[in-house]
């Protein structure tokens, strides 16, 4: 079977060869030279037999690699293999472990960031340990992304089943959708446990040492964990993450005044809950609570809801996610004092005007969820031992995640990734930063382009984004003197979305018409979180619109929303398409 597959591919590539070689190698090419690379592999075989000889088993090439090989990039493949080999040699040679170090790399914090770094470090041949003072998985797995997705999966279904209009339009009849709170809570908890075990096992299987105890940096390349265990490592990554941020004056009792940590346990579903903060966390929880029957009041310090989002997306999201639901909101106000329910009194929230600081209102609700963001968790890390001063709690780093000390000098062999450095407080950003650091310590300079990191909010429908918002792009354009254009497509025109009866949605592309560079993509609509990656990959790889618009999308799929988006963009004809290096930020 392999043989025949290889043969058919070879056959197609054979037909391609003359044209390609003709254009690239300026004439003078006939079959003998087109098979030159292959003769390298199978010397002295007649040309028409080489197809059969080129089996995947024999050479370990994937079919696609083979296709590329015969498509005139023949030389690259073998060289790439050699390159990889030499890389490993280099890391062993240059960074050889002096016997005094226990490990090549120690990561403090086994969250998603630390996990990503550990896996990559093992792949790179580093002897790695990870220190965890709490449970493996960190916020994301135990108190964040993961359990919240379980709750949102429930809320999405509830919402669908409760929408008589939606059901009727599909010809479905469902009576009295209901839920069992404990069942929902168990689902979230079970999911977290499962993912936590997966994470732990994946690290154990790869030989990462999991050291239990709080990690403290004692000095350069030296860490203490637990009470008195001291280990040394050539390089250290701080990945201690963050905890919910609770503003002053708010008394969290974990019952009626709660943070996301408590809310994810879903210990009760209040009739009326105030959510302080309308960012990702607040929005996602409003989706969960309203689907489960609660009414929600948002309290937002800025003048509009969803301040972090592209304004247009935010507006649309408000139309769909807030206005038609049992939600009201107070914007431009601070919650200065929140008192939990006790002695038969409800939760009280005192609001003051964000600008004038004058008392504005007092709310009485059944519960309050504090979703005002997250604060870095760096206490007890021993940063003072190496003269590092946090900025609002965050560990200062440069664009390569190298920690800088109080004087602005780099601290050698010390890196900080994830929420603790505050660059981009997302699990996958932490992981990407960790991988970037490992690349650096194994001898390959790497700078992560944060503008290519997507973000998503898992409401129903979802919101996702990558790169700049429109105002940010316009500001940048003003400064740097280029033009900005915007293209938009609606989910209303997408077959798959309409088949699902979920036509509400918008995709928005912000780009440079002069060179086709993608500056930002924002999506609001069904499965937006899964759709964003085409755009984020394009940004990461520096793909221009004029190139990506020729990529084919299966029909009918939601991905055609992005297809249309790229096709709707108008890039000036003269725009050249050199693949530029991604820009570091």
């Amino acid at each position: 079977m392999h043989c025949s597959a290889a043969f058919s591919q070879a056959a197609t590539s054979a037909t391609a060869v003359p044209t390609i070689s003709g254009s690239r190698h300026v004439g003078a090419l006939h079959s003998s030279s087109s098979s030159s690379s292959c003769t390298l592999l199978i010397p002295s075989k007649p040309i028409n037999l080489r197809f059969c000889g080129l089996r995947r088993e024999a050479f370990g090439f994937s079919p696609s690699a083979f296709t590329r090989c015969s498509n005139s990039q023949r030389v690259q493949l073998p060289s790439r293999r050699r390159f990889k080999g030499s890389n490993v040699c280099a890391s062993l040679g240059d960074n050889g472990i002096p016997k005094s170090f226990d490990y090549d790399l120690i990561i403090i914090g086994a969250g998603v960031g630390g996990h990503g770094a550990a896996l990559h470090a093992v792949e790179k041949g580093l002897k790695t340990a990870i220190i965890e003072g709490d449970v493996v998985g960190g916020t994301c797995v135990n108190r964040g992304c993961v359990p919240s997705k379980a709750l949102l999966a429930v809320s999405g279904r509830m919402r669908e089943l409760q929408s008589e209009h939606h059901m009727k339009a599909l010809g479905l009849q469902v009576h009295a959708a209901g839920y069992d709170r404990q069942g929902v809570a168990d689902h979230a908890n079970n999911l977290a446990t499962k993912i936590r075990n997966n994470l732990t096992n994946s690290m154990k299987a790869l030989g990462v040492d999991i050291l239990t105890g709080v990690g403290t940096i004692l000095g350069p390349q030296k860490v203490k964990f637990g009470t008195d265990n001291i280990v040394t490592a050539k390089d250290i990554i701080i990945a201690t993450g963050s905890v919910p941020f609770v503003p002053k004056g708010i008394e969290v009792d974990g019952k009626t005044v709660i943070t996301s940590d408590h809310a994810l346990k879903l210990e009760f579903v209040p009739d009326w809950i105030a959510i302080v903060g309308s960012g990702y966390i607040g929005l996602e929880f409003s989706d969960v609570y309203t689907a489960l029957g609660s009414e929600v009041t948002f309290i937002e310090a800025l003048d509009q809801l969803m301040p972090g989002f592209d304004p247009e997306i935010g507006k649309l999201a408000q139309r769909v996610l807030v206005n038609p639901r049992k939600i009201d909101y107070h914007t431009g106000v601070f919650a200065t004092k929140i008192t939990p329910a006790k002695d038969g009194k409800p939760v009280t929230i005192e609001l003051i005007d964000a600008k004038t600081k004058e008392p504005k209102d007092t709310l009485e609700v059944d519960a309050a969820l504090i979703a005002t963001g997250r604060a870095p968790f760096t206490n007890g890390l021993g940063l003072e031992n190496i003269n590092v001063v946090t900025q609002r709690g965050f560990v200062p780093v440069d664009e390569r995640m190298r920690v800088t000390d109080a004087n602005g000098n780099l601290v050698p062999h010390l890196y900080c990734i994830g929420d603790a450095n505050g660059k981009m407080m997302l699990a996958h950003a932490a992981s990407a930063q960790g991988i970037s650091v490992v690349e650096q310590v194994t001898g390959r300079d790497h700078v992560l382009n944060h503008l290519s990191i997507p973000a998503a909010c898992f409401t129903h429908p979802e919101i996702s984004m990558v790169g700049l918002t429109e105002p940010q792009a316009r500001e940048k354009a003003e400064k740097e003197g280029f033009e900005v254009s915007v293209a938009k497509t609606s989910f209303k025109a997408n077959t798959k979305a309409l088949a699902e009866n979920e036509g509400e949605g918008l995709a928005k592309l912000i780009y440079r018409p002069d060179n086709g560079e993608i500056l930002g993509v924002h999506i609001f609509g069904l499965h937006a979180a899964d759709l964003i990656h085409e755009a984020s990959n394009a940004i990461a790889l520096g793909t221009r619109i004029q190139d990506i618009k020729f990529a084919v999308h299966a029909h009918p799929t939601l991905s055609e929303v992005l297809d249309e988006l790229f096709k709707a963009a108008k890039v000036k004809d003269h725009a050249s398409n050199p693949v530029s290096e991604p820009v570091a930020v």
Binding site: G178, G293, K326
Partner: protein
């Protein structure tokens, strides 16, 4: 107000000479109807182009047709708010059509005097969605106009027809943003506030019954005089029977004051069965039966707890034993299904619903056991405790409206059964016997509806003959 608004407006596209009206038309109707009114105006109405211009500088902003297929649009947002000064070409409002959201521009300078259709609501193409006044002075006038327009504006979503007072006061739109929560002590939940706004209910007229005396959505609905919508999600799912009902056909516009109440599960099931029954070719055969003997027997056994229903069911069952084809059913249109048991279903009305508890093996049980069983079934039906096999296992149905004085009626054959018997009242009737002697006898008309695919005329006739013999000589019933 009517005299203040003698003006109808023009399409935003027109810039034709003025046609003025002196008549007063208080409600701006849609174009076609306007033309018929217009001759009452003083000037000639060259209304072939259906274009009107207003002397006064109050213009309506219309719901534009943004696509060829668009019949109505939803106001996404008002870019301008009431009182804003507009200049020609400026975007005023964002409208969502079936295809996209679009900015709608004004074709005139002026002041946005009033918003007739607020954000989030829909209006048909051509309906006024806002009022544009040329000068400050006309704003009040325009507002009055808006008020009338608002009252007349066709609600495009007849949601359970909430009886909105026909003349809405001109002010309520202003209340929109800030109003409800100002009063210090009254606390309303977010959804309650939305409902207050939606139904234009004054918060002070609502008494809060929620925790801490807060106003709940139910309180508002009660105050607005509408049936409370079912609460969103009770915990612990009730095991409702998922009985699909066919999707409702597009309904005609509701008459004012009418209400739409969705079917209960039981009603939905009835509706579904009734529609299904249309696919069965049925015919009917009637038969008169003298019931004096039966009545006499009834008087005798009544003290022992025997009901008329049990008597009739027993009689029918006994007749069915002799005519098994009438007890058969046709499930697929290709075959007879001969039922091994004779299960008599009896139609019972229970508060707004209809259910058919089944007397299983009615031919085998004696009259007293049957009566006992029947009592039990009725009790269960009343408390909604019937198990599925107790209401859907019937092979023959009995429906009796005799107690209401109905003398004869026509029953619909339930799907899955071969025949149903409709029993009328037994009434004293003058009867002549073979010898020409007249006497007064109690006569009851029964009418059987049957599936003609399996049960033919003669089958039914002989069955009825047997049935009548049993009823007229009812001694066998007590055996």
């Amino acid at each position: 107000m009517a005299t203040l608004s003698p003006f109808l407006s023009k399409t935003p596209l027109s810039n034709t000479p003025t046609i003025s009206f002196s008549s007063s038309i208080s409600t701006p109707l849609k174009w076609k109807s306007i033309t018929s009114f217009s001759p009452s105006g003083s000037s000639s109405s060259r209304s072939r182009r259906r274009i009107f211009i207003v002397q006064s500088k109050i213009r309506e902003i219309f719901m534009p047709a943004l696509s060829s297929t668009m019949t109505e649009g939803k106001i996404v947002s008002w870019i301008k708010s009431e009182g804003d000064v507009l200049s020609k070409g400026e975007s005023v409002v964002v409208v969502e059509s079936d295809k996209a959201d679009m900015d709608v521009e004004t074709f005139y300078d002026g002041i946005l005097a009033a918003i007739v259709v607020p954000e989030g609501e829909s209006a048909p193409v051509g309906a006024a969605i806002g009022i544009l006044a040329e000068t400050e002075a006309e704003v009040a006038q325009a507002k009055a106009k808006a008020a009338s327009a608002g009252a007349a504006a066709p609600a495009s979503h007849p949601v359970a027809s909430t009886p909105v007072p026909a003349v809405s006061p001109p002010e309520p739109k202003k209340v929109a943003e800030s109003a409800p929560s100002v009063a210090r002590k009254t606390v309303a939940t977010p959804y309650a506030k939305k409902l207050l706004k939606q139904h234009k209910v004054d918060i002070n007229s609502v008494v809060g019954t929620g925790p801490f005396g807060r106003i709940t959505p139910e309180d508002v609905e009660k105050a607005a005089g509408i049936a409370p919508s079912k609460s969103v999600a009770p915990s612990a799912a009730p095991a409702a029977l998922p009985k699909p009902a066919p999707a409702a056909a597009p309904a005609a516009p509701l008459l004012p004051g009418s209400t739409v109440v969705p079917f209960t599960t039981m009603q939905a099931a009835v509706s579904k069965n009734m529609i299904e029954s249309l696919s069965v070719p049925t015919f009917r055969v009637g038969y008169p039966i003298i019931t004096d003997a039966l009545d006499a027997l009834y008087e005798k056994v009544k003290p022992k707890g025997v009901t008329m229903t049990a008597l009739l069911a027993k009689a029918a069952a006994m007749a069915l034993v002799q005519h098994p084809v009438v007890n058969a059913s046709c499930k697929d249109g290709k075959s007879f299904t001969n039922n091994a048991n004779i299960n008599i279903a009896v139609a019972v009305a229970i508060n707004g619903g209809l259910i058919t508890p089944v007397l299983q093996d009615a031919d085998k049980l004696d009259l007293y056991l049957l009566s006992e069983k029947w009592k039990e079934l009725v009790e269960k039906a009343r408390s909604k405790q019937l198990q599925p096999h107790e209401y859907n296992s019937g092979t023959f149905t009995l429906s009796n409206l005799g107690m209401f004085g109905v003398d004869r009626f026509d029953a619909i054959l339930p799907p899955g059964q071969g025949a149903i018997m409709a029993v009328g009242a037994s009434k004293p009737t003058v009867a002549a016997d073979a010898d020409g002697f007249f006497s007064v006898k109690s006569k009851m008309l029964v009418n059987v509806t049957a599936d003609h695919r399996i049960i033919y005329g003669a089958d039914l006739a002989t069955f009825l003959q047997t049935f009548s013999k049993i009823v007229e000589n009812p001694e066998s019933l007590t055996l």
